[in-house]
Subunit: 151 residues, 2 copies
DNA sequence: ATCGCTGCAAAAATTTTGCAGGTAA
DNA sequence: TTACCTGCAAAATTTTTGCAGCGAT
C-alpha cells in the first residue's frame, strides 16, 4: 500500500497540513482556527457549528468565530457543507486532493450517519455539465433511511 | 404514448388529485391549502416557503400556515424537501407514483435551477440499504456548478 | 506596525409554537 | 357539532454583522 504523506495512521490529515493550507490562503493561524480544525479532524462525520463548539474544551472560542471560520474554510475548499434536511448546516473536512469524496447514509429517525465509500461515476457529472453548458460541476449525494436500531 | 390519467396536458397533477390525496390523509381541504398546492403545481422548481407566499395573489394566507402545510405535505409524501446549501428549505411536489423522481443542477452564483431527467440506478440504492441494514432507503442527489449566464 | 481575527452583543432571518376564533366535514 | 385549521403574535433557532481591542506575521 502506498504511504500516505501528510496523513496520520488513521488516514486523517495532519494539523500542520491543514494550517499550511490556511496559510497558503493568506490567512492567519490562530488558536480558535486550530481548535476548529482539531475538532473537524477528529470527527469523521459532518458537524453543526454548535457541535463543533461543544466538542471543544470549555468554550475555547466564540460561536460567531466558528461561523466565520466555516465560511472561510468552505471558500478555501477545505470543508464541505452538508444539509441533512433538518435545517442545520453541517461541515466536514474535505479529503486531500486525489482522495475520492464520499457520501452519507443518514437515519431519518435518529440522525445516525454511516459513511458510504462508493461514488458513482464522474462520467455522469461530465455529461450533465456539457449538456447544460455548466462549468465546475460537482454533486452532493446523500442517502436516507431507517437504521437497524430504529427499525 | 400512454395517456396520463389525472394529469393535465403539461404533465402536472390536477388539483383535484392533490386534494384527494390530502383528503385521503384525513385532512381538510381549505382555501390556504388549495392555494399552496396551486402554487406548487404551477412551478417546476423547488420553492422556499416565502416564495410560495409571494407567488400567491395578495397575502392569500399566512406564512406560518405555509410552514405547517409543508410539514404536513412532507409527511404525507406529497412534497419533497431540498437543501441547496444556502440555508433555506425548498419544496417541490412529488411526482405521482410510478413517475421517476428527478434531480437538479443548481448554479452556485445565481441559484438558477435546471432539472435533470436521469437518475442513476436504484440498484446502488438497494445495495447500500442491505449492506448497512437500513430500510426504506431513498436518496437525494443535486448537482452544483456555474451556469452559462454566470460564467 | 499592520491588517486580520476574535469576542461580545445586537440584529437579521428562518422556523416553530400558543391561543382564540373560524370552518370543513 | 366537533375536531381540525387559520391568522396573529410571540418565541425559539440559526446565522450574520458592527465594533473595539487583541494578536499573528
Amino acid at each position: 500500500m502506498k504511504a500516505r504523506a501528510h496523513s496520520d495512521s488513521a488516514g486523517r490529515q495532519a494539523l500542520s497540513v491543514l494550517t499550511d493550507r490556511l496559510r497558503h490562503g493568506a490567512r492567519k493561524i490562530t488558536g480558535p482556527r486550530k481548535a476548529i480544525l482539531e475538532v473537524l479532524r477528529s470527527h469523521s462525520h459532518p458537524l453543526t457549528n454548535k457541535q463543533v463548539l461543544a466538542a471543544m474544551p470549555t468554550g475555547q472560542c466564540d460561536l460567531a468565530t466558528i461561523y466565520r471560520a466555516m465560511h472561510l474554510l468552505e471558500k478555501l475548499g477545505m470543508v464541505k457543507r452538508y444539509d441533512f434536511a433538518d435545517g442545520k448546516a453541517r461541515f466536514e473536512l474535505v479529503p486531500q486532493e486525489g482522495d475520492s469524496h464520499h457520501h452519507h447514509l443518514v437515519c431519518m429517525r435518529c440522525a445516525h450517519v454511516v459513511e458510504i465509500e462508493e461514488c458513482f461515476s464522474g462520467a455522469i457529472e461530465r455529461r450533465i455539465a456539457s449538456r447544460n453548458g455548466f462549468k465546475e460541476v460537482t454533486h452532493k449525494l446523500e442517502f436516507f433511511g431507517i437504521c437497524p436500531a430504529c427499525q
